[in-house]
């Protein structure tokens, strides 16, 4: 009963448009006061959140990807991949997906990925005669790879709130990320083969392949180095992010000479804005989480779920439906932060691995990013392509189906995620 009241109060605050961070923090503080607990816990929880070394990786990964974005690395990446696969059936679409996948490996955000690759790929694909809805859907969905292929900001946040290893989460994202890239590629090729409509291209010359690949090489190397450094344990994710940021400056500022002073300032400021927005939500969620734990809400829900649902399959089905509905209205990170503390105890009681559950949450959140009316990636593509939200929303439907297919795949074959971190 208390759980229900708290949920109603939270939703009321959120739907009133109280910023998510302060809705969570404020409700948490109110609950502490009502329950006779010390309100000092609120500022303490905020401080202890911002004192988390792993969260320092958030601004640094953002700085890295924003610097690369301002340095026009997206264009170079796309040109290089395009030179290799452009002549395949649906070649441009394949090039787009592969570029999204590569950029995802140097960026922890799906919005940055969709914006970077979308800016170059959308005009190119439309001018080649691809159906515009297919193009929008491809880019909105391709962009979500940003948070599944490491680094990933939602994984950092999930790791922080659940006290799981962020390194293990990063590594567990690789398998499902590649599977999703594969599914998108196969779908694009099949689509192009049967629904065509585009103008096929001749293969690029070897000279073209060489020059474009050379230009994209530093960014590609950066992606490999970041993951390598984290995997080998040579540096923590936070340190890897700092090195990545420094390397991004060297690549765009000294090697390619595409980063302007103005661009650097914008990258700095944008990274700050995103960092503040994200970390305050995490801090607010920490206050809220403390309060509901004192009220024993997660335990009660876990017991309730345990009585009503006794198989992991039923649990995942129910949770997926709930998350899909929440994803219609909620923004991705808030969803992870609100639902994880409530669901993880129940998931673990049913024998689900916490790292596996994190990857599952990330894929579900990817779906939330592209389900209308509120889906960040829909907005990004809408503004990049100057398209109607309706066209973008219809375009993503087949891709949404592919993402849910990945969830199913992940369920029947958990090793898709867990092999790389635990069995290699």
């Amino acid at each position: 009963m208390t759980a229900l009241l708290i949920l109603v109060a939270l939703f009321a605050l959120l739907l009133l448009r109280v910023p998510v961070a302060f809705a969570l923090g404020g409700l948490g503080l109110a609950l502490l006061l009502l329950g006779g607990f010390s309100p000092l816990m609120a500022p303490q929880a905020i401080l202890s959140t911002l004192d988390g070394f792993i969260l320092l990786a958030v601004p640094l990964f953002l700085l890295m990807s924003n610097v690369l974005l301002k340095g026009g690395v997206g264009r170079d990446l796309f040109a290089a991949v395009h030179a290799w696969v452009g002549h395949w059936p649906g070649g441009l679409a394949v090039a787009t997906i592969v570029s999204c996948g590569v950029f995802a490996a140097i960026s922890g955000s799906s919005v940055a990925t969709a914006a970077t690759i979308g800016t170059v790929a959308i005009p190119e694909m439309i001018s080649r005669g691809y159906d515009k809805r297919f193009v929008y859907g491809l880019l909105a969905a391709g962009g979500t790879l940003g948070i599944l292929i490491p680094p990933s900001i939602p994984m950092i946040v999930y790791g922080f709130v659940t006290e799981q290893s962020v390194i293990a989460l990063f590594l567990a994202g690789i398998g499902p990320g590649l599977a999703l890239v594969g599914l998108f590629i196969v779908y694009s090729m099949v689509y192009a083969r049967f629904f065509g409509g585009y103008t096929p291209e001749p293969p690029a010359s070897w000279a073209e392949r060489r020059t474009s690949s050379l230009r994209a090489l530093p960014s590609l190397a950066l992606a490999v180095v970041i993951i390598g450094v984290i995997y080998s344990g040579a540096a923590t994710p936070t340190e890897a992010a700092a090195i990545g940021f420094a390397a991004a400056l060297v690549i765009t500022g000294l090697m390619l000479r595409t980063l302007t002073w103005q661009g650097f300032k914008e990258a700095m400021f944008e990274s700050m804005v995103t960092t503040v927005a994200i970390l305050l939500i995490v801090a607010g969620a920490k206050v809220f989480g403390k309060a509901i734990t004192l009220y024993r809400i997660p335990q009660d829900i876990s017991v309730f779920i345990g009585q009503a649902i006794d198989t992991p399959l039923a649990f995942i089905l129910v949770v997926s439906v709930v998350l899909l509905f929440m994803g219609l209205v909620f923004e991705a990170l808030s969803m992870v932060l609100i639902m994880t503390p409530v669901l993880l105890p129940a998931a673990m009681a049913l024998g689900l691995d916490p790292i596996w559950f994190g990857i599952y949450m990330v894929v579900m959140v990817e779906c939330a990013l592209i389900t209308p009316p509120v889906g960040l990636n829909l907005y990004v593509i809408q503004s990049v392509a100057r398209a109607s939200l309706g066209d973008v929303s219809r375009g993503v439907l087949p891709f949404l189906a592919l993402m849910l297919l990945t969830v199913a795949l992940l369920y029947v074959w958990p090793d898709l995620a867990l092999t790389i971190p635990f069995k290699l």
């Binding site: 739907l15 009133l16 910023p19 809705a23 320092l56 700085l63 700092a242």
Partner: protein, 167 residues
Amino acid sequence: MLLFARLTTALAWIAALLFTIAGAMLTYEVAARYFFTAPTIWAAELSQLTLIWGSLIAMSWALAARRHIAVDAVVRLLPRDVQRGTETLAMIAVAVFSAMVAWHGWGIFYDSYERGRTTGSMLDLPTWVSELAVPVGFGLLFVQALIETGRALSGARLDDDPGDVIE
């Protein structure tokens, strides 16, 4: 009010600079550890301070610029006059919350300051160095929330471009 807006904008830029400096410090730390086998004792701790102070001093600018993440799918469907009312309530809620956190945060800071508590880490900084950021940040946020309450009531806040949503 113009002066306050200038102050919060300046603080937002300082926050951006602080995060960038954290990147530089940690890069130096890794280089020092691997190339000179001489890890620093200050890099991790000071960069953590940049995160605490940076996030908290930039909050009020983000509130004014409507750059905090909020759920607006439902409110958007309401008539404009009702929206003015809900937005005003939302800003009052932020004001109340920030006032309370600033107040209790001040208590934590003052207590540590009086007792001369230190972190007990390598640098052994006084703990109030980080704790002071809470009353400062939320105090500024409280003032900003009051300003925004007025602007929500007059409808000026609704006319602002909510900026790019982010994640």
